[in-house]
């Protein structure tokens, strides 16, 4: 495989990976704080794209305000999701919670399909479409935005968790919910914040990727799944691990296309991601069960 092809697959992989990472971060935050895997995470990504389209094209706002409003609205929807479903379902099992979030995802998809139709939409690129070249590879400016915003989000999150009161409270919850309750942190409030935060991050991802890949009412499923894999690869633990997981996933997929041989065919991209997921889980299974035993 030629160098520029390799570089191209790396850059494309990095771009895709950053999106996966952003979505994965959302999964991680909710999972750590509440122990729930929120299968509606992908829908927030979709909402981010759709809303930013709505506010730029229909409401005619400039990019940045549109972005902020979209993210804010998504956060509110995230909070509403928690209050209306998770919070209402008292003493529900893991399975019930999973199905509830899946139901929520389908519900949101339906609303979006009604509001924006089934044809994909494309919000304007942040800073034009004039591509940049290096080493024979091409990057669109929007891709740089994606990478930049992902890193920014990671930094902000890190700051939030390490050096703000809320962040510390959230971390306390993720370490030990009941103990956190004992020291006067309200786990429900923390869960609410976690859902809002996750929704916001997801929407951010959707808003930055939409100009590049466009967005349609049913895009949440696929994107959510990738983010989910990224989060699992990162072990649902630290932000850095998740971002690394996302980028690895993105690059592997693209390199697989570049190799395009045997099992590494572009048809099997989704499968490749999930096989990775399975391998990682199984390798880590021993450790996981040990942890559970000791605790």
């Amino acid at each position: 495989m030629t160098t520029h092809l390799f570089v191209q697959s790396l850059t494309s992989g990095l771009t895709q990976g950053c999106i996966y990472a952003l979505i994965g971060l959302g999964f991680t935050i909710i999972f750590n704080v509440t122990g729930i895997i929120n299968f509606a995470q992908g829908e927030f990504v979709m909402l981010g794209g759709m809303l930013s389209f709505y506010f730029t094209r229909s409401a005619g706002l400039p990019i940045i305000p549109a972005l902020l409003v979209s993210v804010l609205i998504a956060a509110l929807i995230g909070a509403a999701l928690y209050l209306l479903t998770i919070r209402t379902a008292r003493r529900a099992s893991v399975v019930s919670l999973i199905i509830i979030t899946i139901g929520a995802a389908i519900f949101i998809r339906g609303i979006a399909g009604e509001k924006w139709g089934v044809n994909p939409i494309s919000p304007p690129a942040f800073t034009g479409k004039h591509p940049l070249h290096f080493l024979g590879a091409t990057i669109q400016p929007q891709a740089l935005w994606i990478i930049g915003i992902t890193l920014a989000a990671a930094v902000v999150l890190h700051f939030l968790f390490s050096s703000t009161v809320i962040g510390k409270a959230l971390r306390a919850c993720s370490m030990n919910r009941s103990a956190a309750g004992l020291v006067g942190i309200n786990p429900r409030m923390m869960a609410l914040i976690a859902f809002a935060l996750a929704a916001a991050i997801g929407a951010l991802g959707g808003a930055v990727v939409a100009p590049l890949s466009f967005m349609s009412y049913d895009a949440g499923v696929g994107l959510g799944l990738k983010g989910f894999v990224a989060a699992s690869m990162g072990g649902f633990k630290s932000q850095t691990a998740v971002i690394a997981g996302g980028i690895v996933l993105g690059v592997v997929e693209q390199v697989a296309i570049a190799i395009d041989w045997g099992p590494f065919k572009s048809e099997y991209k989704e499968a490749i991601a999930l096989v990775l997921l399975l391998l990682i889980l199984v390798v880590r299974s021993r450790k996981l069960s040990e942890e559970e035993r000791v605790s």
Partner: protein
């Protein structure tokens, strides 16, 4: 024996009633024109029961059951169409192959617990779906496989709706009875023990990993058999029928049935299928809802709403809730009897 009869009196009465209903339902007097719905209930009950054994009794989350359902359907379809294998033999091969596959993946995967197990099974399910869709040379790709022959015994072909219905429900009943026997046995106690506490189960000599894998395999085989029956019933299959949402559908049936109940699975399958292929389509006919259904929104909204509402208000299922109510009523009655 008499004692047993007394002990399970009500469940025998229930069974008799169910059987009678099964015979009467497809007749002109009741629901002749809904026979395909009734047949579908039979097929999905088989899958749902498997899931009940795995999740309700043993407490192992599984989000990829459609993979085994599809595996059975595809192996049966491919063998009986392109390779002209006898359908019954094909069904057997499918069941064995699916079981073997479940056994191989089961050992590593079932070491995981809770959410991690959910992820793994979810991943497995989608991988299989991608393979169904993309291994075009064997599976017909996205267009699926057509011309799957009807099952037949000697000259007797299961070609009419009524015959298919009877065949599938015969299978379903046998599987239900088998499942019930297993759950009331030593193995069943071991499995429930695993659900209760793996540590305690080990301490009384239960080989936890082995039993988990065994029940995983059993549920996979059930799904496979259901898949084969489905393929021969509808004579055609496509990858879209075995995707993630299909797994969710099966999962919901099992949960609505109240997981820890073999007969609940049938109830759950019936409840969900009536909503999905009877009520929601009927709604779409009404001029008031039509515009919403044209844009597809109503289908998604009502389905999503259904999942949420059921899980929030009936976390341990419709069937179990009803059964518990019935039991408490019986207890009160007997107590009054003692008093009087």
């Amino acid at each position: 024996m008499l004692a047993a009869l007394k002990k399970h009196k009500w469940s025998y009465v229930g069974m008799a009633a169910c059987l009678l209903l099964l015979v009467l339902l497809p007749t002109e007097y009741l629901l002749a024109e809904k026979i395909s719905l009734l047949t579908a209930v039979g097929v999905y009950s088989i899958v749902a029961v498997g899931l009940c054994l795995l999740m309700g009794y043993t407490g192992q989350v599984a989000l990829g059951q459609a993979a085994f359902f599809g595996l059975g359907a595809y192996i049966s379809a491919v063998l009986s169409t392109t390779h002209n294998v006898n359908p019954w033999l094909a069904m057997l091969i499918a069941a064995v192959a699916t079981g073997a596959f479940a056994y191989v993946v089961g050992f590593p995967i079932l070491r995981l617990r809770g959410n991690y197990l959910a992820m793994a099974t979810l991943g497995l399910g989608i991988i299989m779906w991608v393979l169904f869709r993309n291994l075009s040379q064997y599976t017909g790709g996205p267009d699926g496989i057509t011309g799957v022959p009807d099952l037949s015994i000697g000259g007797f072909v299961f070609d009419t709706d009524l015959r298919k219905y009877s065949l599938i429900w015969a299978f379903c009943i046998v599987i239900l009875l088998i499942s019930q026997n297993v759950m009331r046995s030593r193995a069943g106690r071991a499995l429930r023990a695993i659900h209760g506490s793996e540590g305690a189960a080990e301490s009384v000599g239960v080989n936890v990993t082995q039993f988990k894998v065994k029940i995983f395999v059993l549920s996979a085989v059930y799904a496979s058999v259901a898949g084969s029956l489905y393929a021969h019933q509808t004579n055609a299959i496509g990858p879209g029928s075995f995707d993630f949402l299909a797994s969710v559908l099966i999962l919901t049936m099992a949960v609505v049935g109240g997981l820890a109940s073999v007969w609940g699975a049938v109830f759950g399958a019936a409840a969900i299928l009536i909503l999905k292929i009877e009520w929601i389509p009927e709604m779409s006919k009404m001029s008031f809802f039509r515009p919403l259904f044209m844009s597809g929104a109503a289908y998604l909204i009502s389905y999503g709403l259904l999942l949420m509402v059921v899980m929030i208000f009936l976390p341990n299922g419709l069937f179990v809730s009803l059964r518990d109510a019935f039991d408490s009523w019986r207890r009160r009655r007997t107590q009054r009897g003692v008093a009087g």
